[in-house]
C-alpha cells in the first residue's frame, strides 16, 4: 500500500474543522484509528462478545481465542520470544506503575540507585520517585546535552554498582530524541541492573525488537499506535515477570483461593486481574495487523522524511525556536518549538482556527520544561497519515500566528 492511500483508511479525515480540512499533528498524544481497527472492535461486540477464560459456551471460546490471538500478534510485533511475556494493561502509565509496585518495591533496598534522564515523561518518573520513597532507594539522572541527547560516557558515569534499575524512554515525547537503548542495557546489565524501557513514543513509530534491545521490561500504549484507548502492553523477560508480584488481585488472576490465602495463575494471567480489556486487546491486535501490513520500516521512513521537512521549514521561519537534536535521523516523528513572544496556547488556538491540531503545554514533562527554561512548548507530531501538505499547512498557520499577534499586539 502506498502512503498516499493510507489517509483514506482513517474516517476522521472525512470532515472539516473550523472550515478547513483536518490537519492532525498530535499523534504523539494519541493517533487516529483506521477503519480495520474500528471494524474489529465493532465486529467483536456484534459477534463474539463474552467473557474470556471461563464460559464453556461458544461465544466464550470465540472471545478467548480472539483475545489470546491479539496477544500473539503483539508478541510477534515486538519480537517477544513467547506470547506469555505480553501482559495487557490499560496503557504505558499502568504498565510502568505495575513495575513500580510489583517489581521495584519488592526488589529495591535502601541505598540502591534508580537511573533516569531528566527528559522522562511524568509516567516514567513519578512511579520511580514513589518506589524510591517507599524503599529508600535514590534517583540519579543521566545529564542531557544541549540538544537533548545523552552521551554513553555520561551513562557510564551515572550507572554504578549500586544501580538496580534504569528507566528510560526510547524516544522523548518532547525533544524527539532517540536514546541508545541497547548500549544502555549492556551497561546496566554489566552491574546487574534491570532496564525498563518506556516505548510509548517508539513502538508506534519504528521497528522495536525486545530481543535485540535485550531490555528487561517494555511498556507501551495501544492508542498511540492506531489502536483504541484503554489498552496497553507490559512486556517483560520471563525471569522478570515470574519474580514480579501481581498488583491487582481478584477474579481471573488466581489459581487456588482459600479463606486465608490464595495462589496465582502463571504469567501473563497473574497480572490481569478482573475481566480483561478484551475489546481493547482485539482492537490493538487489528492495529498491529494494520501497521505490519504497511511495514514499520516504511512508517519510520515516512515519519523521518516528514520530520526532516518540518525541521527544515520551521528552522527557516524567523522567530521560531526548535528544540531537540539537529538531525532527523536522531529523532522520532515530532518537532517541538516555540514562537517568540507568543504563548503556545495562543499558537495552538490560532492554528486550530485553520483546522490544525497540535499539542501545547508542558507535555507531562515539567522537569524537562525547567531544563529548557520555558514554561511550555508547542509540539507537532507526525504519523503514517500525515503528508508534506500538512507541514505546509503548519508553516502557513505559523505565519498567521506571527502576523496576527504582530497586528494584535501592534
Amino acid at each position: 500500500m502506498s502512503m498516499e492511500d493510507v489517509r483514506k483508511d482513517f474516517p476522521i479525515f472525512e470532515q472539516v474543522i473550523n472550515g478547513h480540512p483536518l490537519v492532525y499533528l498530535d499523534s504523539a498524544a494519541t493517533s487516529q484509528k483506521p477503519r480495520p481497527v474500528i471494524e474489529a472492535i465493532d465486529r467483536y461486540y456484534r459477534e463474539s462478545n463474552s467473557n474470556v477464560h471461563r464460559g464453556v459456551h461458544t461465544l466464550g471460546s470465540r472471545a478467548t481465542e480472539a483475545y489470546e490471538l491479539a496477544r500473539e500478534k503483539v508478541a510477534r510485533f515486538i519480537n517477544a520470544p513467547s506470547s506469555d511475556l505480553v501482559v495487557f494493561t490499560r496503557g504505558t502509565t499502568e504498565s510502568l506503575n505495575m513495575i513500580g509496585y510489583g517489581y521495584a518495591r519488592t526488589k529495591l533496598r535502601e541505598g540502591d540507585e534508580i537511573v533516569l534522564t531528566p527528559a522522562e515523561h511524568h509516567s516514567n518518573l513519578i512511579p520511580w520517585q514513589q518506589a524510591a520513597r517507599a524503599t529508600g532507594a535514590r534517583l540519579k539522572y543521566i545529564p542531557l546535552q544541549a540538544d537533548g541527547t545523552i552521551t554513553l560516557e555520561d551513562v557510564r558515569g551515572t550507572i554504578t554498582d549500586k544501580t538496580r534499575l534504569v528507566a528510560i524512554a526510547q524516544v522523548s515525547n518532547v525533544l524527539g530524541t532517540i536514546y541508545p537503548i541497547r548500549e544502555i542495557v549492556d551497561l546496566a546489565h554489566a552491574v546487574g541492573a534491570v532496564v525498563v524501557v518506556d516505548g510509548a513514543q517508539s513502538v508506534p513509530h519504528m521497528p522495536v525488537d525486545v530481543q535485540a534491545l535485550d531490555c528487561d521490561f517494555l511498556a507501551f500504549s495501544g492508542h498511540k499506535m492506531c489502536g483504541p484507548t484503554g489498552v496497553g502492553v507490559l512486556y517483560g523477560k520471563r525471569e522478570r515477570l515470574e519474580e514480579m508480584e501481581p498488583t491487582y488481585f481478584g477474579g481471573e488472576m488466581i489459581d487456588v483461593v482459600e479463606l486465608y490465602e490464595a495462589s496465582w495463575k502463571e504469567i501473563p494471567w497473574k497480572f490481569e486481574g478482573g475481566t480483561p480489556i478484551i475489546a481493547g486487546a482485539i482492537g490493538l491486535g487489528a492495529a498491529v495487523d494494520y501497521l505490519t501490513g504497511i511495514g514499520m520500516e516504511e512508517i519510520r521512513r515516512h515519519d523521518r522524511e516528514l520530520t526532516e521537512y518540518a525541521l527544515e521549514r520551521l528552522r527557516s521561519l524567523p522567530g521560531v525556536t526548535v528544540y531537540g537534536p539537529e538531525a532527523a535521523g536522531e529523532r522520532g516523528g515530532l518537532v517541538t518549538f516555540n514562537v517568540d513572544g507568543v504563548h503556545p496556547h495562543d499558537v495552538s488556538t490560532v492554528l486550530d482556527s485553520e483546522g490544525i491540531a497540535i499539542r501545547a503545554g508542558h507535555h507531562c514533562a515539567q522537569p524537562l520544561m525547567r531544563w529548557l527554561e520555558v514554561p511550555a512548548t508547542a509540539r507537532a507530531s507526525f504519523y503514517l497519515y500525515n503528508t508534506k501538505a500538512d507541514v505546509d499547512a503548519l508553516v502557513h498557520g505559523l505565519n498567521t500566528v506571527k502576523e496576527f499577534f504582530q497586528h494584535a499586539i501592534g
Partner: protein
Amino acid sequence: MQLDELYRQVIMDHYQHPRNQGELTEKTVSVDLRNPSCGDEITLQLEVADGRVQDVRFRGSGCSISMASASMMTEAIKGQDVPEALSLAKVFRSMIRGEAVDTEVLGDLESLQGVSRFPARVKCALLAWQALEKAVSGHTDHQPE
C-alpha cells in the same frame, strides 16, 4: 470561528502591558496557583483592610488570555469590598460559561466574553479568579464556587 472575537485589542493591550504586576510589601495574603494541565502560573497578592481590597499585585506566566484576565481583574477589584469582588468573580464566571450577564459591572473584562466560544481556553481565563477566590476565602463568609 473568528480569532478577532477571542483576541480583542484590549486583551492584547493588557497582555503586553499588564497592570498591577509585581509584589506588595504590605500584603495580607499571597496565593500561588497553577493550571497543572498546561503549566500556567500565577501569584496573586492582596492587601485587605477593613473588608476592602486596598491593593493588589500579580505575577505569572501564561498565555495572553490568562495574563490579560489577571491584569484586568486586578484593575477591577482594587478598592472593592471583598463581597463585591467575589460577586464580580461570579458574574465573570457566568460570562465565561456563556451565560447572559449584566456586562455593566465588568468594564474591560467584557472583552473576554469570546472565551466562552473557545472551551479549551476557559481555564486560562479563570486562573486569576480562582486565585482571588482562594485568597479572600479567609476574609469573608462567602464560599467560592
